[in-house]
């Protein structure tokens, strides 16, 4: 999906990057970490601007941090995984200490506008039926066990997708005593920044994971 076709409005806050001139002269810049960003308008200050580019999903956590403004977008799963999941990806949603904003955008993916079902992607009612887990929210103490049990209940091979600032870094709650974070026992295959990420940002990430977009 070409960026321009999305017709996102002028004020839409997509990728946060450095303004022109801020990266010249080889100056060392404070890194922009899209995983920690909550995409507040105030973050566009001191040489930073928001673009309307909604493509921000990556395969490694550290790919969200940039000192040039360029980020390497998510790559596809390997050939074996693509052959298993590429045309039929069943996902289990776990909201683990969220505000429900990310879940609302995940729900929107199923409507007639975004229609993820046309790509073979759907959400299922049991981890036993799923190929992967979509994590939203900070992962707090009260949801940690439920998240781990859900992950363990998904048969192999499986994928894990972290959606939103809270899942990636704790977001605006990052130093709250309640935040545990995604446990190390759960490896993440796709990181989708935003607060909440626009449905197109999520969909673009999922399609890159499945090798439908390069």
């Amino acid at each position: 999906m070409p960026v321009d076709d999305a017709e996102l409005p002028e004020r839409f806050r997509g990728q946060l990057t450095f303004s022109r001139g801020a990266t010249e002269g080889g100056r060392r810049l404070p890194v922009i970490d899209l995983g920690a960003s909550v995409f507040a308008p105030e973050e566009a200050s001191e040489g930073r601007v928001f673009t309307r580019d909604y493509r921000m999903a990556v395969s490694q956590r550290d790919a969200l941090a940039t000192d040039t403004g360029e980020i390497e977008l998510a790559s596809a799963l390997d050939a074996r995984m693509r052959s298993l999941l590429g045309r039929s990806l069943r996902l289990r949603s776990v909201a683990a200490g969220s505000c429900a904003g990310c879940e609302a955008e995940l729900t929107a993916l199923g409507n007639v506008v975004f229609d993820m079902a046309r790509f073979g992607i759907q959400f299922v009612a049991s981890p036993r039926h799923a190929d992967g887990v979509v994590i939203s929210g900070v992962v707090n103490a009260n949801m940690r066990d439920a998240l781990e049990k859900t992950y363990e209940a998904v048969p192999d091979p499986k994928v894990v997708i972290a959606v939103g600032a809270c899942a990636i870094s704790g977001g605006v709650f990052h130093d709250s005593a309640q935040v545990v974070g995604i446990p190390d026992s759960i490896p993440v295959d796709l990181w989708i920044p935003g607060c909440p990420p626009h449905p197109l940002t999520i969909l673009d990430g999922l399609l890159r994971l499945l090798g439908r977009i390069e």
């Binding site: 996102l8 409005p9 004020r11 839409f12 806050r13 909550v38 995409f39 507040a40 308008p41 105030e42 928001f50 289990r92 949603s93 776990v94 909201a95 683990a96 200490g97 969220s98 505000c99 429900a100 904003g101 990310c102 879940e103 609302a104 955008e105 995940l106 729900t107 929107a108 199923g110 409507n111 007639v112 506008v113 959400f123 009612a125 049991s126 981890p127 929210g137 900070v138 707090n140 103490a141 009260n142 949801m143 066990d145 439920a146 859900t150 809270c166 977001g171 605006v172 709650f173 709250s176 005593a177 309640q178 935040v179 607060c195 909440p196 626009h198």
Partner: protein, 503 residues
């Protein structure tokens, strides 16, 4: 309030904390019990550490039909005689006080936790214990054919986590107990200890479908404490954003309810139309939920005249597209028969338990902050209060339908008559030693942010009471006597906030 024990307050008007009456706890309980005869309800009742060994309880009460708010307080030790023995409506709040402040109200038996976290607002000298996840004891019904159904925290759909424990006899629900707390993130401590911008961002992330509602309420409190001049244009834009948020949620909810009774055409159309409302918020603020828009002093984005023209065109088109879809939904006999008589909330329970918002208006209790405690643009532009009477799923759907129509008219009217001036004005330092009650009619109901400052003007306590805090028990009560298979529909007809409750 007519009683001298409560200090009258107005929505978003500060009072000195020193002027708030301090009663003996028994007298406070007595006053509340006496006032319950005229449908007085608790807006919020919470604790704040007064000294290292004393807790101040602050009670904010309302008489909606008189448009009156009152506040009183009491000082308690860790063990104190429970208020809810005399005024049961205080029960939920005392559970919260026990959990947040480590208090031990006496006379009501062991208190179950609400959110299952360690106390974070207790007086520093108190020796506090807390009930964790594993210690929650569910009630049960005994009987040979009674079985227990447990749902959650992870639910079938893409939805927030919560635990529902049903006691069922065949298909019939005998009792439903709801355990929440899975979305607890520590909102109040962050609101109290963060700088102004971060606190605003926390308010935006309190409940992701009520960004405008909660942020407007939080900013309303800060602006009152800062004696900030109001921006009429900013207030109008806030009203427009709040009504767009109401529209997005009501349209989405009707679509979800249609889906739950397998009426898919309406569910498909309405899901798209919900997106139209979110896209309008995105046009104005850059974010589909309006994040970035509401800031202390007004709104950070303006609606210039060409954008206003576009907004009107899009809202008029939405209105024209919605009408036939809503007729399709409400005229279908299959939909009516599924919605009718399910999940009834009785008006006397509403008064006894202090339910608010949509749930109250659906059983003929016309509580609406925009009318009863008018603030901002609602002092100038009245939206008629929508009501239904049966208190069932159909009534909650009808109230949404009415409010959709009224919010659309309001948005068109306001966008075409925005007052002049800057949408954002300065908001300076906070006054010290004051208390303010900031109420907002979020799309679910009354959002309350009660803020208390210390002598230096720092926020000492920022209490949030979401409408869902009042209304979750209504869902539990409404399911009694219903078929368990009607639970998803009933749950969606309330669509309460887990995050708003759990903070």
């Amino acid at each position: 309030m007519s009683t001298p024990s409560f200090l009258p307050v107005a929505n978003r008007r500060c009072v000195r904390l020193a002027d708030v009456p301090v009663l003996r706890v028994d007298d406070l309980a007595e006053e509340l019990a006496r006032s319950s005869g005229d449908a007085t309800r608790i807006v919020s009742l919470f604790g704040t550490a007064e000294t290292p060994h004393t807790l101040r309880l602050i009670a904010v009460v309302a008489r909606d039909d008189a448009g009156e708010l009152g506040v009183a307080s009491t000082m308690v030790n860790r063990i104190y005689p429970a208020i809810s023995t005399r005024f049961p409506q205080a029960g939920r709040f005392e559970r919260e006080i026990a959990e947040q402040c480590g208090a031990a109200p006496e006379g009501i038996g062991a208190l179950k936790p609400l959110r299952r976290h360690a106390p974070d607002h207790s007086p520093s000298d108190w020796d506090v214990r807390w009930v964790g996840r594993d210690d929650y004891a569910f009630d049960s019904v005994s009987g040979e054919e009674v079985h227990e159904v447990a749902v959650g925290p992870v639910h079938a759909g893409i939805i927030e986590p919560g635990h529902f424990r049903f006691q069922a006899h065949g298909e019939e629900v005998l009792a439903l107990e709801i355990m929440l707390g899975y979305q607890h993130r520590g909102v109040e401590r962050l609101l109290e200890t963060s700088d102004r911008l971060r606190a605003t961002l926390v308010a935006e992330s309190l409940a992701g479908d009520s960004v405008i509602g909660h942020t407007s309420a939080a900013c309303g409190a800060i602006e009152a404490l800062a004696r900030s001049r109001k921006s009429p244009r900013g207030q109008a834009i806030r009203g427009i954003a709040l009504e767009l948020e109401r529209l997005a949620n009501h349209i989405g909810d009707l679509g979800a309810m249609a889906g739950d009774v397998a009426f898919h055409p309406a569910s498909a159309y309405l899901a798209r139309m919900r997106g139209e409302c979110l896209n309008l918020l995105m046009t104005i603020s850059g974010n589909r939920y309006g994040r970035g828009l509401i800031r202390p002093g007004g709104t950070a984005f303006d609606i210039p005249s060409d954008m206003a023209g576009e907004v009107v065109r899009r809202v008029e088109r939405l209105r024209d597209e919605l009408a036939p879809v809503l007729r399709l939904l409400f005229d279908a006999a299959s939909v009516q028969s599924r919605f009718d008589g399910v999940g009834v909330v009785r008006s006397d329970d509403c008064i006894a338990h202090g339910y608010v918002g949509l749930v109250a208006r659906s059983c003929e209790i016309p509580r609406d902050v925009r009318h009863d405690f008018a603030y901002g643009v609602y002092r100038f532009a009245q939206i008629p209060v929508a009501q239904a009477w049966a208190g069932d799923v159909l009534a909650r759907a009808l109230v949404r339908r009415l409010e959709i129509q009224r919010s659309i008219e309001f948005v068109i009217e306001q966008v075409t008559s925005l007052p002049r001036g800057a949408p954002l004005v300065e908001c300076g330092r906070l006054q010290g030693g004051e208390l303010v009650v900031s109420l907002e009619e979020g799309w679910r109901g009354e959002i309350a942010h009660v803020v208390v400052t210390d002598e230096n003007g720092n926020v000492r306590r920022h209490k949030v009471t979401d409408p869902s805090f009042h209304n979750w028990p209504a869902l539990a009560g409404a399911m009694t006597g219903n078929q368990i298979s009607d639970f998803p529909l009933c749950n969606k007809s309330f669509n309460l906030s887990y995050a708003g409750h759990d903070l």
